[in-house]
Point group: D2
Chain length 310, copies 4
């Protein structure tokens, strides 16, 4: 299904080359001013060749509902982004070819058919709706003095015509102790699901992460200060699935995107291998632009817990 | 909440030192024989000092409902494990002390009070209910020729009185192409949530994982064979959130558990630091016994997708 | 929340005098042709002074996503209806007045503020999105030879400047035995929730309904024919929460709408009673036009069960 | 599925003649004392030949989890009721016969097999778990000064060997204005679903109910007092799906149960009609004992809204 969250809920829709993409945010409290300039700014951060495509669109966000004089009504906030720069003919060869590293084959196995125009819904373009949802979540977090930031901590260099991956670190500050659930719906589990749902995400870790697997317990355990802050933050701000008041820190690894200029061996609809060379500009590394998507998912995850508190 | 899954649903309950722990599996199809010996065997794999405790219980599983002559009725399958070897007095000091590396403080912030007896629900003992649920899921998977296996691929050595972590790799074979959803409910996202919800999990990766972040796209992309198998499996069997028919491979990193014999600096209920030394045996490394929990979560995740298919 | 259903899911949005109303249908299977003329026809049935308002709009439905050449992709089907004929100034007095029989007061208690322009989201206009969702559900049902029909079985006559209620009967034919769940999610329970969520619904009954409370068991029990049809249908086609293959029959009672021309005693924002007389045309009885909404809710309820079957 | 509610969640399990029935309450706040005598008293109200069976059991409720010294921990509250007085041999003829008015046939169509022992899960016995859940919900409501009461307003007289139905009215007092949601999850819609899920419920109405369909609007509309109470309560305490602070009033119609002493024409497993006469005592009218189940469903519905408030 295309809904994220339980209390703060984002439902998204839209194909890359359809009429529009967009979403509906449900569960947002009434009485909060929505700064559309802030949303536009976040969209700008995501902009330019997003996730490996060369398409340039203004990505103007139209707010359709849920607001009166810019203030939320407690009703669903729907938004729309029209698709303009659509040249589906560039993709005509893809009607009969399944590309390696793409979702062409799996999508057909799942649904029986696929939208070959620009990747359809299996396009990085769907992350635009996540960024709008994340912006709205950030506005809520801001009213609680919670901030989300990110940085690229690893970035591959790509050879000519090739692509590279990287790692984004995301930090949530200002989240008080006590958010999260102790068994299945741990804060870290929900963050993991949120991050792993981003296109090309392939790894996730909290705090010391995989390195913690090589530590001794006496080294790993974060020592208390009397005020319940800790002297290290190996656990990444979460204990037993619940925030402990320290910054919540996670990292997301992204593999290189599959859209490269180099020739690729596809399978055609008769089961033969056929080499395809895609024209057009391609991103060498999409990771810097993915950071705002990472933040959006973090913001919506935290908003979901905030709105679920009793 | 204490429910895992949407179509295959496990709801668990129970505190470490309460009357019992257990669970309810809902959504399981009618007409499938449940081999209780298999469940007992899976429980045995989990047994002995699980997750760092020295408690030894027979962990006998009583099936309460959902079966007629050993065959499922399509109704909820409830099960119960009585708690026997309960020596809550060992934990009396914990009524007023918050241990580092444990959920004592976060639990109190979340709920206002906490069950200090053996960790209450924030105890590794809750994973026993996951293993029963996972066993039942595996029985379903077996009818579809899907198998789950795991191995410890990294294991720390622990010094005297200390603890160590490690990494478990899990492989799902026999899952056909077409399972998973393309946006938020990706197969890899759900697996990530499932694994990160296991006590002491701190990292998760699919296929090539964090190493993929350092590859070039041309190296990372798995090349087709004409039958839609691939020559490598860097993506871990999932493309665009949907299984591609190759083995689904993931790894889970576990940090060392906090229950160590070495002295630990706790905070008492007046905000003072007090050093506590816990008597009793402690696991040096709990990771080998966690493997069956990893498999259980994988099995339930896959079962959830299988039962959700239209 | 503003989502109906679990497997067939309709999320709606929009205020009466905002930019637009609309919705997103999620979970719809791929490969089904959507006849937009049929949707337009259903909207026409709902049209003219819907639910007591005198607003006349073309109610043109724009499909935004989920389709390729008119065929569903398995992705969310989003749709939009622009609001055109908006004269919010007619409602200016309502900024400070709470009308009896309306949701003005309860909405303010729930959200702290309210959209006074045309009732905001507490307007019968939101049912337009239900009708679109219901039309899409009917297209699915049609592929399974399931049909939904309705008739007005009671209709009040209204005096000058007054309003009247009535009763709509809805019949679902072609639904095979075996749909529904035996405990909380009974087919009749879900139908009840669906119908009671329609604006101004105040009663719901299956089959013989309230009259069954006065029957003897030997009279009430529907006698078998050898082919499992029954000689009467007092139960309304549902036994133990599960369809039995007979027509599913229910009735929904609607109270008169509160929008009447006669003067009404309102409460102003100082707690004083003030008499308000609303100008404009008003429906005497909205029930005939509600029938298509009843059908829409029935269609979506059945579609939800169909798509949930394993 | 066998879960009721979103925030206050009751998951039930158990067949009539299996080892036990029971349930798990999830989402209940920490720090509330659970009076087990109160629960026992509610069970007593339900007792004696409930829903047409002659089985007499002590129905002792064992609490399994979620409590420390009788106070809730915020963790799942599991409970168990062992089945003792099981004489499955009485039902042996039912292995091959489908009774009219029962769920024998629909259950087989739904699941492919059925538990013929005492009706399995399609037995009125499952309502025992609802009453325990409702008792726990009432304890929560009591902390908010909300009370639930009921009375039988219609009760059929049954001839010798026959059964009769009736109508139960339920009133919720003390619920403040502002609970409920405006579109699909209206308070009245959720109440309707809750009530229609009770075995043998066949009709539901709020306030003036079906009679409101015959009123004029000017008669139906509840007039304000300046304090926002109303001079009548035709709407049953709900406006636009949200409570208005007046008592919430609904009525539930029950058809006569199908378990009658008179001969019944069944269908055997070869498709022939065969007349069956059931021995044993049978209730003439189960409605008086259903009242506590009606209250339980009302209590859980309100608790669900209370715990969902932001």
């Amino acid at each position: 299904m295309n809904t994220f969250g339980n209390n703060f809920r984002l439902t998204t829709f839209g194909e890359s080359h359809g009429a529009a993409i967009g979403g509906v945010v449900d569960g947002f409290p009434a009485g909060i001013h929505i700064d559309t300039d802030f949303i536009a700014g976040e969209m700008q951060r995501r902009h330019d060749n997003v996730l490996g495509t060369s398409r340039r669109e203004p990505d103007e966000v139209e707010m359709l509902s849920g607001l009166l004089d810019g203030v939320t009504l407690g009703t669903p906030i729907a938004f729309l982004i029209r698709n303009h720069d659509v040249r589906s003919e560039d993709y005509a060869a893809l009607q009969r070819l399944q590309r390696p590293g793409h979702a062409d084959y799996t999508w057909e196995q799942r649904y029986g058919l696929r939208d070959w125009r620009g990747g359809g819904r299996a396009s990085g373009r769907e992350t635009a709706a996540r960024v709008v949802g994340g912006s709205i979540a950030k506005i809520l977090l801001c009213t609680r003095q919670i901030a989300i930031s990110s940085k690229v901590v690893e970035q591959g260099a790509a050879g000519e015509g090739d692509s590279a991956g990287g790692v984004v670190e995301c930090t949530i500050t200002g989240l008080k102790a006590g958010y999260g659930n102790p068994v299945f719906d741990k804060l870290n589990a929900r963050l993991g699901a949120a991050m792993m749902s981003i296109p090309s995400a392939i790894g996730f870790e909290m705090g010391a992460g995989f390195a913690a697997a090589r530590m001794q317990g006496s080294e790993y355990i974060d020592r208390w200060n009397p005020d319940h802050t800790t002297q290290s933050n190996h656990c990444g701000g979460v204990q037993g699935g619940i925030s402990n008041g320290m910054p919540v820190v996670c990292r997301v690894a992204f593999h290189p995107v599959a859209s490269i200029a180099k020739p690729k061996e596809c399978i055609d609809n008769k089961g033969n291998i056929e080499t395809l060379t895609l024209a057009g500009r391609h991103d060498r590394c999409h990771v810097p632009r993915t950071a705002v998507v990472v933040e959006a998912m973090a913001a919506m995850t935290v908003a979901d817990f905030l709105l679920g508190e009793k």
